[in-house]
């Protein structure tokens, strides 16, 4: 069982755990952001480079630091490894550079994009990016195309995370979807718009971290922060039937999978649940989904007021603790 220290917080993890997984076991602010890694899919990660971390000590046996930042989603931990994420200013600058690269070709069409408000790239840019771009050239343009009947692909928004490709590979017996061309020219394609008719194909909407793959049945219907998410289930012969429905009044505007705090789907849902069950009577509603109050979706959700109070109380406690501990230097593991 190797021991790894991330930002001064030590944890013992099973062999073969990656740094990112170890950081997620610790939780809190030291978890590196990830755009392409998806714990529910195999062989994801390594494309986007947002999860880079600094390894200041390789292992107990070989304490030399690694010469440059490593992607934490693809690097397994060694016994005695010391990792810097938030504690290394040079790394944060490197990550800001990665974000700038991701945003080079990403259009500034958030006011139009249906993903706005729940977009991982928005969060990433807000937390780690710079507010200006230094890129002077025109961004690449693609016409939006339909993938099958219910999914819209906006290739100009794609950041090439390969999640949807891996999903198509792993959920379907036949491979329909892939990446064509290279570098700036690369684009997701279904080989001459070959219809994706697998009954789980809709999940590629959920795995897409940006607004490249969006639900056509929800297209321009409403902004996500005007709809109320509720956890609901139904008896479904093809999938587990556990979903999240987004209500506006009595109307179900869209159905998505339930996502954990890293924005990853907990249970895949089938296309019938996702696209065809658009009535409240189709679903058994369990209760409102808890939305973190940092998210714009929590606007006017009064449930969060209680949490807010809880959090401010915690924060106040931490501040008083900090005053007591001032001068000890180490990053407080509870300070997240």
């Amino acid at each position: 069982m190797p021991k790894v220290t991330i930002d001064g917080q030590t944890i013992e993890v099973p062999n073969g755990t990656t740094i990112l997984e170890a950081a997620r076991m610790i939780g809190g602010k030291s978890v590196p952001p990830a755009m392409c890694y998806y714990s529910k899919l195999k062989e994801t990660g390594g494309y986007c480079r947002t999860c880079i971390v600094n390894v200041s000590k390789g292992s107990e046996k070989d304490p030399r630091p690694m010469p440059k930042p490593v992607p934490s989603c693809r690097t397994t931990v060694m016994d005695g490894m010391e990792v810097q994420n938030l504690t290394s200013p040079a790394l944060l600058e490197a990550r800001a550079g990665v974000v700038e690269f991701l945003l080079l070709n990403h259009p500034l069409d958030c006011p139009i994009c249906d993903q706005a408000g729940e977009c991982h790239l928005q969060d990433l840019g807000y937390e780690n990016g710079k507010s200006k771009t230094r890129y002077e050239f025109a961004r690449r343009e693609f016409e939006p195309i339909d993938i099958g009947e219910k999914i819209k692909l906006h290739m100009k928004r794609c950041i090439h995370c390969f999640r949807c490709v891996k999903l198509a590979d792993q959920l379907t017996p036949n491979r329909y979807q892939g990446m064509l061309n290279r570098g700036d020219h690369s684009e997701i394609s279904t080989y001459i718009q070959h219809a994706v008719d697998n009954e789980f194909s809709g999940n590629m909407i959920d795995v897409c971290p940006v607004g490249a793959l969006t639900d056509k049945t929800f297209r321009f219907k409403s902004r996500v922060w005007f709809v109320k998410p509720e956890d609901a289930h139904r008896k479904c012969p093809t999938c587990a039937g556990k979903a999240r429905i987004w209500l506006k009044g009595e109307e179900v505007l869209r159905v998505t999978g339930r996502k954990d705090k890293y924005g990853e789907v907990i249970d895949w849902i089938c296309n019938e649940c996702r696209f065809d069950k658009k009535k409240t009577s189709d679903w058994v509603i369990e209760g409102p989904t808890h939305i973190d109050h940092h998210s714009v979706i929590s606007m006017n959700h009064y449930e969060t007021l209680v949490d807010l109070k809880h959090e401010t109380d915690n924060h106040r406690k931490q501040l008083t603790n900090k005053k007591v501990n001032l001068g000890q230097g180490a990053l407080d593991p509870n300070n997240s």
């Binding site: 958030c110 006011p111 139009i112 321009f220 219907k221 409403s222 922060w225 006017n300």
Partner: protein, 188 residues
């Protein structure tokens, strides 16, 4: 006793001067008459109009761009910023051939501001990423019924014949920013 400032009232017998009433009435008349010789606080609106501050926040306008296309793209940021929840909208997708009507591929087919709810704080103007909504120096006319206070696009969107100039409301920083044509924000 919520405020701890309540006082018990004592009903004392009035003195002779108080019972005469005349001194109190004269005192009141003095105040009234003194106002005859002061400057009037009212004006004869609408014949006379007061000078407005440059940043006065009155009735909203939905701007068009120089080619006459509506700038609003129904992103909903004004509605989410609105503390009075006065703004509602319905978005629609632009069809082929409507490029001269709407600037982006999505537009607001319904855009309503409830003027009874609006508190004229100007947060919608701050939130707008497309420079579509602005508050102007126009006064919202009063009405006799509630229904006509919900302003739709027919009232809010400016016409190309009678465009509404909002440039005096902009700060120097904003006007300077607008001169940087290299920002995607300022193109078109």
């Amino acid at each position: 006793m919520l405020t701890n400032r309540s006082q018990t009232v004592a009903k004392k017998e009035m003195t002779l001067v108080e019972r005469l009433y005349l001194p109190a009435i004269l005192h009141g008349m003095k105040i009234t008459v003194s106002h005859f010789f002061k400057k009037k606080v009212t004006i004869n609106y609408p014949e006379e109009r007061r000078e407005f501050a440059k940043v006065y926040r009155g009735q909203h306008v939905l701007k068009r761009d120089d080619k006459g296309a509506e700038r609003c793209t129904a992103c909903g940021l004004c509605a989410v910023a609105c503390p009075a929840e006065a703004i509602t909208m319905v978005a629609s997708e632009r069809k082929k051939g409507e490029e001269n009507l709407y600037r982006e591929e999505k537009y607001a087919s319904v855009y309503e501001i409830n003027m009874l709810r609006c508190i004229f704080c100007g947060l919608c103007e701050d939130a707008c990423p497309k420079e579509a909504i602005f508050l102007t120096d126009r006064i919202v006319p009063s009405t006799f019924d509630r229904g006509s206070n919900i302003y739709g696009k027919d009232i809010l969107v400016e016409t190309m014949e009678k465009r509404i100039d909002i440039s005096p409301r902009q700060t120097k920083e904003v006007l300077d920013f607008k001169t940087h044509k290299e920002y995607a924000h300022n193109k078109l």
